[in-house]
Symmetry: C2
Amino acid sequence: MSDRESAINWARTNQDAALDDFKTILRIPSISTLPENKSDVDRAAEWFSDKLRDLGCKVAKTIETGGHPVVYAEYLDAKSESPTILVYGHYDVQPAEPLEEWESDPFDPQVRGENLYARGASDMKGQMIAFLTAVKAIQSTSRLPVNLKFMLEGEEEVGSPHLADFIRDHKDTLSSTFCLNCDSGILDPETPSLTYTLRGLAYFELRLRGAKSDLHSGLFGGAIDNPANVLCELIAGLRDGSGRVTLPGFYDDVRPLTDEDRREMVAKPDSWWLKQTGVPVLFGEEGYTAAERATARPTLDVNGLLSGFTGEGSKTVLPAKAMAKFSLRLVPDQDPAKIKAAVEAYLSENAPPTVTWELEDLSSGHPSISERDSASVRAAIRAFREVWGKDPVFQRQGGSVPVVGIIQELLGLESLIMGFGLPDDNLHAPNEKQHIPTFNRGIETYIHYLFEAVKE
Amino acid sequence: MSDRESAINWARTNQDAALDDFKTILRIPSISTLPENKSDVDRAAEWFSDKLRDLGCKVAKTIETGGHPVVYAEYLDAKSESPTILVYGHYDVQPAEPLEEWESDPFDPQVRGENLYARGASDMKGQMIAFLTAVKAIQSTSRLPVNLKFMLEGEEEVGSPHLADFIRDHKDTLSSTFCLNCDSGILDPETPSLTYTLRGLAYFELRLRGAKSDLHSGLFGGAIDNPANVLCELIAGLRDGSGRVTLPGFYDDVRPLTDEDRREMVAKPDSWWLKQTGVPVLFGEEGYTAAERATARPTLDVNGLLSGFTGEGSKTVLPAKAMAKFSLRLVPDQDPAKIKAAVEAYLSENAPPTVTWELEDLSSGHPSISERDSASVRAAIRAFREVWGKDPVFQRQGGSVPVVGIIQELLGLESLIMGFGLPDDNLHAPNEKQHIPTFNRGIETYIHYLFEAVKE
């Protein structure tokens, strides 16, 4: 039996143990945005660091940053001519709210049918555990044919504010042949895919203030402006009825979709989008399919609104404050810094003098397009072929993984974006899940990939 | 010494005891809109019922309604030719949120300077205690010259949903000569006033729904509409930049302000409104003063907004739901039912098919104008003159007391609207207060009023 076959066999025999590991890490609520979860985030970092040491990494540690720590580990015992893969992942998760919409506790993982439900199951503890299980399968039966460096951050879900500095500070340590980014998924359980484009992000919090405190709407309404009304008016002015962003110059840098791009896209039909979301009808810019709108066109979405009284019943308050979180997804070659300037210019021009405003830049990232014909991509294609019996399709992703752009810029490395989530995994939403059969196939695909990566 | 002088002396001697009573009832958080405060609301009702029995009311009880109980009490021992005054009040209060903006616990009353701070201090436990103290002063020294019936409701702050039915069911019991409504205030500590107009109210909650659950804004944004964006667009479409409501036909029934109306108005200057609220600039319909806008013109204000993620930091969610509470203040002769129909028509016409909507009618009340030359009003003027040394001015109030219209319609009684709050009492807002010297003068004014009310 070849080393590769032994590893595959080991993985098949030890699926339950992998699932147990998966559940253990899912129980740690490593929510990076909430200060009260700081110790959980640290605990998750330690857990991964320990795990990597157990897998044979001679260096495995957590490194402090200005925010949550980075887990760094290295396994450099492969032949010197073998490639060194920088494995990127994140151990933090999104908040679980709204809690009442979860069918089971978000931090008490539960198997229902073929899925494991918990916050972070798909995004992306599942992908990390799949990769680490692949490494374990090889280390338990032979030895890794490639060198690995791990960089697992704890701030991906808050926009990786300290990652660029970390990379700058550890440039030599991180030098590698290419990057494997596991924070991704495939199109459906029978359609393996590799992500080659990601949208960028510009995420803001807009805070308006009117009076010095909340007022009685009967006594003051009419004479004093209302920041909640103004907030609605300002947000309404940012897009038109088809969702087209109306900020001046917003589309100037958008690289048009070519006929070839459109032919190559694996387009989910409208019926998929309707079923997946349960909306009454689809929506979006004219002249584009739903798949194009969600992956290859920029957007503007409100992510949160808060003002005044939001409890049960009526309170006749004229609120002193109003807040909106909103974000724009960007496509090549849009630049988040230019978008921020456009939002600020819009507010300067349109916010009335009856309120004061404050715009906080919560998160941003450049859009990216990766090379589709490299040694790393070819190795991945061969790995998928072994497990699925077919080639992966190349997909555009609507989400944002700003680290891909950062790694390209600071380390000069192309990222292979390969993970095993599914589009219906409820990422960032209640009842997040990971499809277990796809998770198990993911482990095997990573095993094949690690053996294929040494070939040209 | 006359009976009246004895009562006034008694009141001056017992100011501390009155303040203690006041604090006791302020400690009961009788928030009518919150189900978790139901037992507190009941406790407040019992407290007032007991208090009225102690004051010599032979009937004093709580009567169940479809919601919170009504406290009903009667004192009918005055001469048969004496008038019977129906005293209206409410023992419920607004929620205290946002709690962090209170300088002291909203339900642990605290005296700072000349003010007593607590939720309900001015609206309207203070007014009720002032009136009951006036009754006590008379009952402790002589006996009431008028008959009194008390109707104290527990649902004023949620729009009095069961009061009309209660009045219909107890029409004979409630029959009186006129109504005294204590839920009001005066212009400033040196300017006594009587309220003669009140604005009406139409208060709604609008709920929008898009997808079946929250989605990842990266994976779905652009292809799926966002109910939070749509909410902002729908709210933005309800008014123009000057605050003029843009619902079709909205101003059709508005009785224009005559030159005489405008001359008679006691107009606080712009500087008062700026200082009171701390806003950068005033606001409102062209051609009207701030005082006119806030009392004699209709308005539309958002009272609450909620959607998506509102915690610290960023969460890239495309919310499934969005909610706005908003209310319109109405002036004679606008009709809340017609306004509701206009809002529904607007939503039917303008809500896009990408969301479903639901409009809940949370509260409504007719605007009112009271007679300014009646026996009751003349008695009040004489009472004010005794205490302040000057006549009260007639004021238009921007707030809504729907019960005034209900009592006019169902019992045929004019309401004298006389209370002793102040415009800077922070009604419905953090740090609500009652000005103690004005409270004490209020007690004396009510004493004089009760003696004056028997004269023609």
